[in-house]
Every structure is written in C-alpha cells, then in structure tokens.
Symmetry: C2
Subunit: 359 residues, 2 copies
Amino acid sequence: MGEVSLAALLPPLRILLLGYGNVAQAFLPLLAARSEWLGRELGIRPLISGIGTQHQGFFVHATGIAATTLAEAADPLLLFRSQSQQVQDAATFIQKGRAAQATVLIELTSLNPQDGQPALSLIRLALQSGLHVITANKGPVAYGQAELEALARRHGVQFRFESTVMDGLPLINLAQFTLQAVQIISFRALLNTTSTLVLSMMEQGYSLDDAIRKAQQLGIAETDPWYDLDGWDAALKTTILVNNLLEGRITPAMVQREGIRNLPPADIFAAALAGASIRLVSRASRKQGVVSAQVGPERIESNDVLYVSKEVAGIPSIIVLETEAMGTITLIEHESLVRQTAYGVLSDLIAIVRQRSAR
Amino acid sequence: MGEVSLAALLPPLRILLLGYGNVAQAFLPLLAARSEWLGRELGIRPLISGIGTQHQGFFVHATGIAATTLAEAADPLLLFRSQSQQVQDAATFIQKGRAAQATVLIELTSLNPQDGQPALSLIRLALQSGLHVITANKGPVAYGQAELEALARRHGVQFRFESTVMDGLPLINLAQFTLQAVQIISFRALLNTTSTLVLSMMEQGYSLDDAIRKAQQLGIAETDPWYDLDGWDAALKTTILVNNLLEGRITPAMVQREGIRNLPPADIFAAALAGASIRLVSRASRKQGVVSAQVGPERIESNDVLYVSKEVAGIPSIIVLETEAMGTITLIEHESLVRQTAYGVLSDLIAIVRQRSAR
C-alpha cells in the first residue's frame, strides 16, 4: 500500500485514445501492466483522459482515470463512459481532452487507404493543439508524414508511428536509434501476409479463388481481399519504409505497383515445382539521392533469404536491408499479433517521455 | 577552407588505440571519413592521442593528431610514431594517455579465450583512470562485464562492446535502446562461422579433416580450428548475449558446451539426405529468474528458420529471439567484415558521446 501511495505522487501523463478496437483493447491492459515500470523508470503515472469511437461516441474525463483502474474493469469503456462527459465529435474530443490536460493522443482508428482521412486531419488538429501524437494507422503516415512532422516540430511535440509497419519488429526506432550512421542503401521485403499466404496455397495447387476463400476462413484475408492482393497494403508500407529508412519523401502513388490478381496460376505452380517461389516483393533503393520504389510479384530462388517464407509457415514479414557500413541484414517477424501493435504503441509512448525529458 | 577552420574550433575528443591490427586499421579511415559528420552531429573533433601494440611498442602524442591527418598517411602508424613519445608498456600507455587528456580507450587487442587477460586488467586500469572504454574483444566482456560495468559507474565513465557479438548487427544496442520493455525470454542462434561452414561441407560428403582444410584455405578457419569447432567461440558469444539480452550474470564456464569434434560424419550426411541439417546451436533461456545456456550440435529441420544457413551461403550468424511482447523475431547477418567490427566500434563511440552530453 505504501508503494501505491508513492506512485500516486508521480506526475500524471494524461492520454486520449481515439479508436477503441482490437489494438486499443490490447493496449490498455499492457499500459496497466507496465504502469509500475513506467513509474519506476520514467517517473510518470499514466491516466486515460478520453476515449472516443465513431460508433459509441466521444468521452472526456475531467481529471483522468488510472490505466490500472480501467484495465481491472470488466468493461473498461463502460466504466469510462459512466464517469465522463460525452462530446459531439472527434474534433471537440481533441480540444476538450487538451483542456483536461491530456498531453498525448493515441490514434487507433481504422485505415483509409485512399487518402488517410479523416485520421490525417485529426492528427493535424491534435498536433496544432499541442498534443504529442502516436498512431498505428498507416494512412496518415503514408500520406502526410513530412507535413505532420513539420507541424509537430513547430508545436514542440512529437509524432510517432512505430506500429504502422512490421509491428512485430521495432524497425523504425531501430533505424532511428541504432543504425544512425549505417546508411541503408536499399531494401527488399515481403510485407503483406495475405498475399504470401494466398501465393503459398496456389503453389500447392489451389486456384486463386479457393486460396482467397481459405485465407478468409483462416481470418487472414479481409472480406475484400483486393486491397492486399493488388499490392495497396504493401505500397503503403513501402512508402513509410522509404520515407523512414531511405530518407525519401514519397507518397503511395509514387510506388510502382503490380498486384497478383492476374498472375497465371500455372506459373506459380511451375515455379514451386522448380524449387522456387513467387512472392509479392517490395523493393526500394536510393541511388545518387534518387529514390525508387516498387511492389510486384517476383520469382524467388531457394538460395534467396526471402525463400524462408516458403519453408517456415506463417511469417508475416521479412525485410532484407542492404547497408553501406554493415553489409546485408535480414529481419524476420514470425507472428503478427495485436499485442505487438499495442507494444509498438507503448514503445512510442516511452520514446516520447524519454525525449521530452532529455530536453 | 573556411569549414576546416570552423571544425578546428570544435572541442577535441582524444582517443587511445590499444592494438593496431585489422580492426584498428579499418577503424581509423572510418573515423576519418565520419569526422565531418561527428563534428556536425555531435560537435566533436576526433584526435588520436596514442597507439599501442605488443610488437611495435606504445606511443603517446602530447596533444593528439587528427584522425583525418593519420588516415591520409601511407602508413598511419609510422607517422604517429615519428611524432610521439614511446612509453614502456600498456599500463604506462594508459596513464600517459590519460595525462595527455585522452578520454576514450579503444581496446582492440587479440582474444585470450581462457580468461580474457591481459585485456581485462588493462580495461580495469583504464576505467579506474577515468577513461571511457570500448572493446571489440570478447574475452574481457565474457569474463568481466559485471565487474567492469560497476567500475565504470563508480568512475563516471562508460564501458561499451557492441562489436563483440554479431558485429554485423547492432544487437546489443538494439536490446538496450529499442527492446527495453519487450522482455526477451530465450534465444537460439548460430554464432560460429567456422562450424557452420565445416558442417555444411560435411553435408556434401567431405570428411572433417578435409572440411577443416578447405575452410582454412578459404580464410575462414584458424590455423588451430578447435577453439571454434569445440564450441569455445560460441560459448563466449553466448555468455555475452545471455548477460546482455537475458539479464544473466554468467561466465563462459557456466555454458554447457559440446563441440562437433566427435559427430559421426555419417549422421551429418544422413541428416542432409533427409532434408535436415546439423548445426552448432547456441541456446539460452530465462525461466523464473534462472538462466540456462548451452552450445551443442542439433538437428535442424527444413521448417526451422535456422535452416536458412543451409539454403543461403555464407551466413555468419543468425539469432532467433523469443520475446514476451513481440513474439518471435529473427535477425540474420549476411556478411562478417572487418568494416562491420570497425563500424560497431564507431557506434559505441557515438553512444558514449551522446550519453555523456545527455547528462
């Protein structure tokens, strides 16, 4: 009990959660479980000051409720709503949340692959209001990173998005913290789980339609699988990687993109028989300052490290980095779990607190 | 010229190089090439204040010579010697170097796998003298990390050793900076290039002796290959990884070790025929606070990510990390180059300067 009272004296870190789907529901207990660690290592006490969702409404609490209290509730959202004030929309949520002394907005709404809206505008508003922003949403990062980062700098806050790509690997923070002078020259990667799964089933003789149906049954492919199979998901992820690993400034439209929709099944089967494999490969390089990026099907031979996606089942992503100082490095993510995304959000939160106090 | 004069106004960072073999000879031009970057990003001007080697003697320069000046010389060591004072031994070198205002010792002498001496004692002396220490030498880290780190803390300096394991991957800094709250539970790894190469040749039908001879011809195996093949190298690396990734406090003697000396060649050949592979595997885990570590030959099936060492030629090391928050992550180093080791030393230098100025 003595420790609990001491913890209550730590300065609060008030958080707004925008979106309350799978990731937010995994993040809340993770934050609660690490509250003691956050207090000990960073000297903060995390409180939730707002939870907002499109369908259930937007709620702001006057002083904030401890993450641990919420996580213990059978229905954290219900508990939060019962003690909070409802506001009319997301923009008001951000403004009232800021007025209630929240300092971080965690944006976890669903992806709009066309233009990243409305998340992009809401993040803009949050940064302008002086909130640090963390997002796990590829849209606003792929379409607006440079602008949002400039905005964050202007308002003395941070914009972080570790969970947007390969969330089982701290790739963006890795590049930022530990590969600083390495100079990444190019990368090749498999970034889309659905297309890897569909292609590996077609290698075993499934038709495209059957492979899609099977992937949907397994809960991997979406009801509309074409966002994945036409390479849009890979193109968004490639955009984010190019802008963060290769110092590019591209948008998804600048990624040359070809999906696997029209691949002749016979070609896939023949490649497999010949001991090779066809995969949807993302490639990007920087040469004399010029960045190029593409997504498309490629034949992978068995002596290529990407071939591991055929031998080892269920690998959601692999990236092969060619660097100037370190030669070639491969990173493989073996699972794609909601708790990894939640953990990426937590790492961003930790990075924000550390950087804030380093100033 | 204007820029050069400005750079000359930056505060000097005086460095002592103990050992002048391959790594030091690759580090010096790398340091020179990054001098402008170091000035711009970190506000320092690297000078070499001492170079010492067992065979050619120990030399200290009164004020330090710019890394760029030395790197331009046909024979940097000769240039350095011609302008410096020779001292009698390594201990005097450290003391005189400190007196000449050096603040960092880079220890690059050769490995003594028995007890890490004399490097261990020299690093101790350097830390006690108030020098930050970087080493690329596994011996003192495997045998003395905890003691040396305590000593460093007591004297307000840092002790860094990124290059000691998997120097093509910033693994130790990765764990320190970006996997902080991930909690690594266990790892499996191939850490010894020579045994991987010898085993892969035996899979093709070579005898142990022939495989060793071939590996020696390729410049991979040492004249005495048993340090590698009996698992000592892997045991030292495993020790360092356990102590840094799993928060262990073990010494090499605590790693259960079995080499590949007595493996029946027929078993290796049979495994390969059956589509599997035998490798010298390092394993370690932490369960209920108890750490266990071992090195020994294991059969690897083709659906295991470590099998990539059979498909893709020349992989010096692979590590599979099982984490609490991020699931499983694999990191593969594709080349083992002296410039990677040199780069690891440079990253340590950067980390020291950054941490020093963060205080």
